[in-house]
């Protein structure tokens, strides 16, 4: 008998249809992967089960959980279910906890509410579940506040809240998307263990096919609010019978064509040279005149990049890769060491003296939504870096250059009169690339440029990067925690750990045979679709669970 059964669920919010005739079932102890791109209705399906939908939402169909008709259940019945038999974990651990309450209170609150035990008993149970999710008392007393914990630790607290009363069903909505791969692997292990211990059902929502292939027994693929295909994970994802399934799977392992001889040694002086770069941040104040010792974010990093080369800087969150990037871009001053671009050193220069260098290096950021002023037209947004030229182009020339840049990234010249909100996420990332290439720079630093994008869009943007590398001879430094990006597009990988570059080499060598512990941890933790599918398939054929 299934634990959760959704039949013919349709949902509209304020008259806009969101879900159409969704069907899915989860049995006790089963993991169901719900896959889809943004806007496909994954989260809304979850919120329907939790009955935490926006007020204007209207749901039709049948949702049965543990024999209870969810759509007909009154609010106080739902309050008894939520947090007890029905738990939920959210995507963004940084904001999912109340900043003004200690973690112990936040875990114990639900326990007290549902079981009516005394405060002391609830705290003892909160302690036990926090220990279980890997937050031991010695380092994580109940009195800790969320801001004293890292993202991965906070996600453990959220899982502890959701699992404190051993729910029958846990809904996890992109639980690891905001975490680096090593933390992702730890959190996924924890979820898998909790499923095994309590025969808990798990509805795992993800856009990442590799994660789903590793975790889920069965998979349901959503698109535009409708189910495209569903069935056992291994069979569905390897047969790829449905065209959309095939499209998703191909996009997530997409490698752009780069018809260039990788063995050709680039000649000439290096484009970018970084020598002994170090950045200290002052330590926290412990007394009126006392500070903790300074925190070294980047520690004596040296490397050089030849022109036309594509390198990836990979590492876990907090390893110092973004600080390093900011210093290369002369947005942050190094404590020691030097950066030179085309033989010209950058530090100690005034903004006016840096203009030449700024023309030659541009940046593409992660979030295509947050990096534009919503009230400016595309023409103005893309033309922004043109102020770096000593002779400002006039209006006609400016439009011409913007049109050329938009054409380079696959957009139409007519798009320059539109506003950012008229574009999709992928198109916006194209606009930010257009903005970066309008000065015809030599070096582009891209900070997680595709992490916020859906897989199919991400494949297109990677193609664009590869194409621009060929056509314009751009040199890239990709900063990422995602090894598939590094694998897809870079010649060389540098692995960063605790402020140092610990391993460096041709991409395929490093990713196939990592030698340092930091690189091994990254490579080992990164989910791999093909390997996971192979394991799934053999398990499904022999009929034994993984």
């Amino acid at each position: 008998m299934s634990l959760l059964s959704i039949e013919n669920l349709s949902l509209d919010i304020g008259g806009t249809p969101i879900l159409k005739d969704i069907d899915l079932q989860i049995a006790p102890g089963e993991v169901l992967g719900l896959v889809g791109e943004s806007g496909s209705g994954k989260s809304m399906t979850a919120l329907t089960v939790m009955q935490l939908l926006p007020e204007a939402a209207r749901a039709r169909g049948r949702v049965t959980f543990d024999g209870i008709d969810i759509l007909a259940a009154p609010e106080d019945a739902m309050c008894r279910l939520r947090g007890d038999d029905l738990g939920m974990v959210f995507q963004e651990p940084m904001t999912a906890l109340n900043p003004v309450k200690p973690i112990g209170e936040q875990v114990a609150e639900g326990i007290r509410w549902h079981t009516g035990v005394s405060r002391a008993d609830a705290e003892a149970r909160a302690r036990a579940i926090l220990d279980r999710v890997g937050l031991p008392e010695a380092k994580f007393p109940l009195s800790r506040y969320p801001h004293e914990l890292s993202g991965g630790q906070r996600q453990r607290v959220v899982i502890a809240i959701a699992c404190a009363l051993k729910p029958k069903l846990l809904i996890a909505d992109e639980p690891t998307t905001a975490l680096d791969v090593v933390l992702q692997a730890q959190i996924l292990d924890l979820l898998r263990d909790l499923v095994g211990e309590n025969r808990m059902g798990l509805l795992l929502i993800s856009h990442d096919l590799a994660v789903v292939a590793e975790m889920a027994d069965r998979v349901t693929i959503l698109r535009h609010g409708a189910v495209m295909e569903s069935g056992p994970t291994g069979a569905v994802l390897s047969a790829r019978r449905h065209p959309y399934t095939r499209q998703l799977a191909e996009a997530s392992t997409h490698v752009p064509a780069r018809p260039r001889d990788p063995s050709a040694k680039p000649s000439g002086p290096p484009l970018l040279e970084v020598r002994d770069l170090t950045r200290d941040y002052p330590g926290r104040r412990t007394g009126l005149f006392q500070h903790e010792k300074p925190f070294r974010a980047v520690d004596g990093v040296s490397f050089s990049l030849p022109a036309g080369h594509t390198a990836a800087l990979v590492g876990r969150s907090g390893c110092g890769k973004s600080t390093l990037a900011r210093m290369i871009l002369a947005l942050d001053r190094p404590t020691a060491g030097s950066v030179s671009l085309m033989g010209e050193t950058l530090e100690g220069k005034s903004e006016a003296q840096l203009r030449g260098a700024r023309r030659n290096m541009q940046v593409v950021f992660q979030d295509p939504y947050g990096s534009f002023n919503p009230r400016h037209r595309v023409e103005r947004l893309v033309a922004e870096p043109l102020h770096l030229f000593d002779k400002r182009p006039d209006a006609g020339e400016r439009r011409e250059r913007v049109a050329q840049a938009l054409d380079d990234v696959g957009l139409a010249a007519a798009d320059m009169d539109k506003y950012p909100h008229e574009f999709s996420g992928g198109q916006r990332q194209r606009i930010s690339i257009a903005r970066a290439i309008i000065t015809r720079p030599k070096l582009i630093v891209a900070d997680e440029p595709v992490s916020a994008l859906d897989v199919s869009i991400r494949a297109q943007i990677l193609d664009l990067f590869a194409d621009l590398n060929q056509r314009l001879g751009l040199t890239y430094l990709f900063i990422t925690h995602d090894l598939t990006v590094a694998r897809a597009i870079t010649d060389e990988v540098m692995v960063m750990d605790e402020g140092r570059i610990v391993e460096r080499g041709p991409t395929s060598d490093v990713l196939r045979h990592p030698t340092t512990p930091a690189a091994q941890a990254l490579v080992g933790a990164a989910p791999d679709l093909e390997q996971a599918l192979a394991r799934r398939l053999s398990a499904e054929r022999s009929g034994s669970p993984l």
């Binding site: 939790m50 935490l52 609010e75 106080d76 309050c79 008894r80 279910l81 939520r82 947090g83 007890d84 738990g87 939920m88 959210f90 963004e92 904001t95 999912a96 906890l97 109340n98 900043p99 003004v100 309450k101 200690p102 609150e109 639900g110 509410w113 549902h114 506040y145 801001h147 004293e148 959220v158 809240i161 959701a162 926290r284 104040r285 007394g287 009126l288």
Partner: protein, 315 residues
Amino acid sequence: MIAYLIKRIAIGLVTLAVASAVVFCVLEIVPGDPALLMLGMNAEPEALAALRDEMGLNQPVLLRYVDWVSGMMVGDFGRSYTYSSPVIDLIAERVLVSLPLALMALFLSTAIALPVGIFSAARRGKAADTMVMGAAQVGVAIPNFWFALLLIYLFAVWLRLVPAGGFPGWGAGVWPAVKALIMPAVALALPQAAILARVTRSAMLEVLGEDYIRTARAKGMPRRIVLWHHALRNALIPVLTILGLQFAFLLAGTIIIENVFYLPGLGRLVFQAITQRDLIVVEGVMMLLVATVVLVNILVDIGYAIVDPRLRTRR
């Protein structure tokens, strides 16, 4: 937390020092000779010179500033030219009216505004919210003196529950004194409550959209408990800021209400002192207000730290 407090207090002291210099300088450069004003336009030049000498107006500016500041440190604010009594006595007498009035008004406005703001936020967009916020809009728009006149007509003239104005003094007993302050406090509190209710509502609405509110709901907590236990405390920071600003206003900005109710408060004292060029009184009241604002700000900062644990450990 200790470092945080010390820093706040140090900032407060610097503010006081800067303010004293500004107050002194401004009053130094405004036209009008207090000695001339005391003696009248037809005064004998000799008498004028003698009085200026006696008042210390002939001494160098810096010396007079140092005298003034060091006097204030030991509670000597100088003597009023027009009242011929120590400024400190004048202020003390008026503070006994203004401070209880301000506290009563503040208490009333908070007691009205917080529940109304929370109620409104919880029913966002519904009829009750629209009505309450409409009323608050009217409350912001109505001048408080007009409201005061309405109150006098209703409660003093028509129902005869409270006196229409005047202050019997605390010597006449606590209840008669409090009774005389009730209507002015209500008249002061309502517009303040209207502003505070709007701030509370928007702060609550912002917090109610946060992820952790959804986490609390996913824990099974009913909406009402989430509102009071999770949302309110996070919404208090902007509310505290407005409360601090309002208290400073209520203490000295009440001259119109004091006039309507004929109360001997600080506002009227400073108004009379300005019209009569009694600069030493103006200076004294100014410094008292600056000190109050600084103190209230420190209290608000402590309030922030109590509400938000992140501020306690911040560098």
